[in-house]
C-alpha cells in the first residue's frame, strides 16, 4: 500500500469500484474495505505522512496520534458492522454513499491540517444525505434538503474560520487552539452544528428517523462523533463547553420520553449522550479527554446497536412506532435479546462498557469539584435509563401482543448486532485492555464495591419508579403524534412569518399598482377629453383663424415687452 495513505481514502476509492460489481463479489468487497482500512491504520502506527506544500500552506493528509487513533478504530468497526447490517440492500447508491461517508469521516479524523479536515468534512455532508434520500419518499426528500442545508452551512462556516485563522496565526495545523478569537468562534459553530449543540440540534431528530433502515445505523455513528473528535482536538478545557454540554444532557430527555417513534427516541437520546462528551471536553485534562474518547467509542457501539434493533423491527414490521408495535419478542426473540443487551450497555450496567467509560467523565467532574455539574450528569444518566434502557425494549419489543407475527431479522443483521454488543460487553469485562488505547495512560479502578453498588442502586430505583408510573398510569401515554421542538421556529413560525410578510408585500404592491394604474387612467382620460378625436385641442382650423390667433399673441408680446 502507498506509504502513509490515509485509511479513509481506501474506503473512498473502494466505493468507486463498487458499481462495477454485483452479488456475492460486491458483498465481499464491501466488507473487505473497512478491514483493509483498519489494517492500514494498524500498520501505520503513530506519526505524520503525506506532507506537502500548496500555495504556501503546509498540508498533512495523514496524522495519527493516540486521540485520532481511538476515533479511527471505532469508525472502522462501525463501518464494518454497518455494512454487514446492510448486506441485503440491493441499492448501489446506498452502498457507494455509505463507503464514501464512512471513508471521509475516517479521513477527517486523521487530517493533520484544517484544509484536509474541511475537504473531508464537506464530503461527509454531501455523501451522507443520500442515505436519507434513499428512502425515496417525499418526506425524506424534504428532510434531506434541510439536512444538507445545515450540514453544508457547517462546512462554509468552517471554511470562513480557516481563512480567519490562517490570517491570524499563519498556520493551518489542526491542533489545540486558544478559544476567543473570531476564527475560533467560527470553528466552535461549525463543529457545534455537527455535534448537535442546543438549538443547532434539530437536524439529528429530523433526518435520522427519515433515513433508510440501514441508513440511520450508518448515520448515527459518524457525523456527531466526528464533531466530538474535532472539539476534543481543538478546544479541550474551554469552560463555555461545560455549560453547553449541561444543556445538551438535560434538554433532549423530555422529548425522548414523549416520543412515539423508536428511532426518533434514539436520536434524542444520542443528543443527550453527546452532552456528556461535550462537558468532558470542557473540563479538559487527561482524565476527561480519556473519558471523551472512551465514551465516544462506547456511545457509537450502543447507539448503532439500538438503531440496528429498532431498524430490524422497522424492516420486518414496516413501522417503528410504539403505538403500532406489540409483542415483537415473540416473533423476533434474538433481536429482542440484543435490544436488552444494548439497553444494559446504555444504562451503564456493571460488566458493560459504559459502566467503565461514563465513570471516567463523572469522576473528572468530581475531581474538578464541580458538584452541580456532576448532579446534572447523574440526572442525564437516570434519564437514559428511562428513555432507552426501559422504553425501547419494553415498549418496542415486550409490549402487549397485538396478534401480528413477523419473521426474525435476517442473519447478517443479527451478526452485525453481535459485533456491536460483543465489543460493548468486552470493554466492560476487560476495561484495562481498552483503556490502554486511550490518549493518556492511566490506572483504572472500574470495579470497586462502591461503584458497582451505587450504579446498581441508581438503576434499580429508576426502574422501580418506571414500574410504579406504568402501574399507576402516571407514565406519559404514547400517542401517534409528533412532539414540537426548536425546529418549529423555522419549519412553522418562520414559514408563517414568511408567508405573512410575502402576502403583506403582495398586498402593498397590488395597492400601489392599482393607484398607479388609476393615475395613468385619469391622465389618459383627461388627455382624451382635451386632445381626443374632435376635442378642442385636436380640431383642424382654417389657416386664416390660425394667423389671427398668432397675430394677437404677437401683439400681446409687443405690448408687454416694450410698454
Amino acid at each position: 500500500m502507498i506509504e502513509g495513505l490515509n485509511p479513509g481514502i481506501i474506503l473512498i476509492l473502494g466505493a468507486l469500484i463498487v458499481p462495477l460489481t454485483s452479488g456475492f463479489i460486491r458483498g465481499i468487497l464491501l466488507l473487505a474495505l473497512p478491514v483493509l482500512g483498519l489494517a492500514q491504520l494498524i500498520m501505520l502506527g503513530l506519526g505524520s505522512w503525506g506532507q506537502f506544500e500548496i500555495m504556501g500552506m503546509q498540508l498533512t493528509v495523514t496524522h495519527i496520534d493516540p486521540l485520532s487513533r481511538v476515533f479511527g478504530l471505532i469508525f472502522h468497526v462501525a463501518a464494518f458492522a454497518g455494512i454487514l447490517y446492510s448486506l441485503h440492500v440491493k441499492d448501489t447508491m446506498q452502498h457507494v454513499a455509505t463507503l464514501i461517508y464512512a471513508g471521509s469521516a475516517i479521513g477527517a479524523v486523521f487530517a493533520g491540517d484544517l484544509i484536509t479536515l474541511f475537504t473531508f468534512w464537506e464530503i461527509t455532508a454531501v455523501s451522507s444525505v443520500f442515505l436519507i434520500w434513499a428512502s425515496r419518499t417525499e418526506r425524506s426528500f424534504k428532510s434531506g434538503i434541510r439536512y444538507l442545508i445545515i450540514q453544508v452551512t457547517s462546512g462554509v462556516v468552517l471554511l470562513g474560520g480557516i481563512a480567519l485563522y490562517a490570517a491570524d496565526t499563519g498556520s493551518i495545523k489542526f491542533e489545540t487552539m486558544e478559544f476567543g478569537s473570531l476564527a475560533t468562534w467560527f470553528f466552535l459553530i461549525a463543529f457545534g452544528i455537527k455535534a448537535a449543540f442546543p438549538l443547532l440540534h434539530n437536524w439529528v431528530q429530523d433526518s435520522y428517523p427519515e433515513a433508510t433502515v440501514t441508513g440511520s445505523v450508518i448515520l448515527s455513528a459518524f457525523t456527531t462523533k466526528l464533531a466530538i473528535y474535532a472539539l476534543a482536538r481543538s478546544f479541550p478545557g474551554t469552560d463555555l463547553l461545560i455549560w453547553i454540554g449541561v444543556v445538551m444532557v438535560i434538554f433532549p430527555v423530555v422529548h425522548a420520553t414523549l416520543e412515539n417513534d423508536l428511532r426518533r427516541t434514539m436520536a434524542y437520546s444520542l443528543n443527550s449522550q453527546q452532552g456528556f462528551m461535550i462537558i468532558a471536553i470542557g473540563i479538559g485534562g487527561d482524565l476527561a479527554i480519556n473519558g471523551v474518547a472512551a465514551h465516544a467509542t462506547i456511545s457509537i457501539l450502543y447507539t448503532c446497536l439500538m438503531f440496528m434493533v429498532t431498524g430490524a423491527a422497522l424492516y420486518r414490521t414496516g413501522t417503528a412506532k410504539i403505538t403500532e408495535l406489540g409483542g415483537l419478542y415473540k416473533s423476533m426473540p434474538v433481536t429482542s435479546t440484543f435490544a436488552i443487551l444494548g439497553a444494559l450497555i446504555i444504562i451503564a450496567a456493571p460488566l458493560t462498557g459504559a459502566f467503565a467509560t461514563k465513570a471516567l467523565i463523572m469522576s473528572a467532574a468530581l475531581d474538578a469539584k464541580m458538584v452541580i455539574l456532576w448532579l446534572a450528569m447523574l440526572f442525564g444518566a437516570v434519564a437514559v435509563i428511562d428513555n432507552v434502557g426501559l422504553k425501547i425494549p419494553l415498549f418496542g419489543f415486550f409490549s402487549k401482543d397485538n396478534g401480528k407475527r413477523f419473521q426474525e431479522a435476517p442473519l447478517h443483521m443479527l451478526l452485525a448486532m453481535a459485533v456491536m454488543a460483543g465489543f460493548g460487553i468486552f470493554i466492560g469485562l476487560s476495561p484495562a485492555t481498552f483503556f490502554a488505547l486511550l490518549p493518556t495512560p492511566m490506572e483504572s479502578h472500574t470495579y470497586t464495591a462502591s461503584h458497582v453498588v451505587t450504579q446498581l442502586q441508581l438503576i434499580a430505583f429508576a426502574v422501580l419508579i418506571f414500574a410504579l408510573a406504568l402501574r399507576t398510569g402516571y407514565y406519559p401515554k404514547m400517542r401517534d403524534s409528533i412532539t414540537l421542538d426548536f425546529d418549529w421556529i423555522y419549519r412553522k413560525a418562520g414559514k408563517m412569518a414568511l408567508t405573512k410578510t410575502s402576502s403583506i408585500v403582495a398586498n402593498f404592491w397590488d395597492q400601489t399598482k392599482g393607484f398607479g394604474l388609476m393615475l395613468v387612467g385619469w391622465a389618459i382620460d383627461k388627455a382624451e377629453k382635451s386632445h381626443g378625436e374632435g376635442q378642442a385641442m385636436s380640431r383642424t382650423v382654417s389657416s386664416g383663424y390660425a394667423v389671427s390667433v398668432i397675430l394677437i399673441l404677437f401683439g400681446i408680446a409687443l405690448v408687454v415687452i416694450y410698454a
Partner: protein, 89 residues
Amino acid sequence: MPNSDNRTYWLDRPGNVNKLFYGVVALTVVLAIPDIFALFNIFYDKHPKTEIEEIPFFYGLYAMISMLVLLGVSNSVSNFLKRDEDYYD
C-alpha cells in the same frame, strides 16, 4: 405472517407481570442494604468523593427524584408540545 403460534409465553400468564414488579421491589431493598451497613461502618466503605454522596441511600433517592422530575415535566408539557403526525406536511 398471521398469528400462527398458540404458545403461551411466560409474560402472558396472569400474575407474572406482578412477579416481575415485586422482583424489582425486592432488588431495590437488597441494594439498599449496603448503605445500611455503611451507616454502621461495617462490611462496606462508600469512598465518597463529595459530601452529597455521604447522604444514606443517596443514589437510590436521587434516581427516584430524577425519574419523578422527568416524568412530571414530560406530563406537564405533553399537551402543549404534541401535534398530529402530519403537522408539518
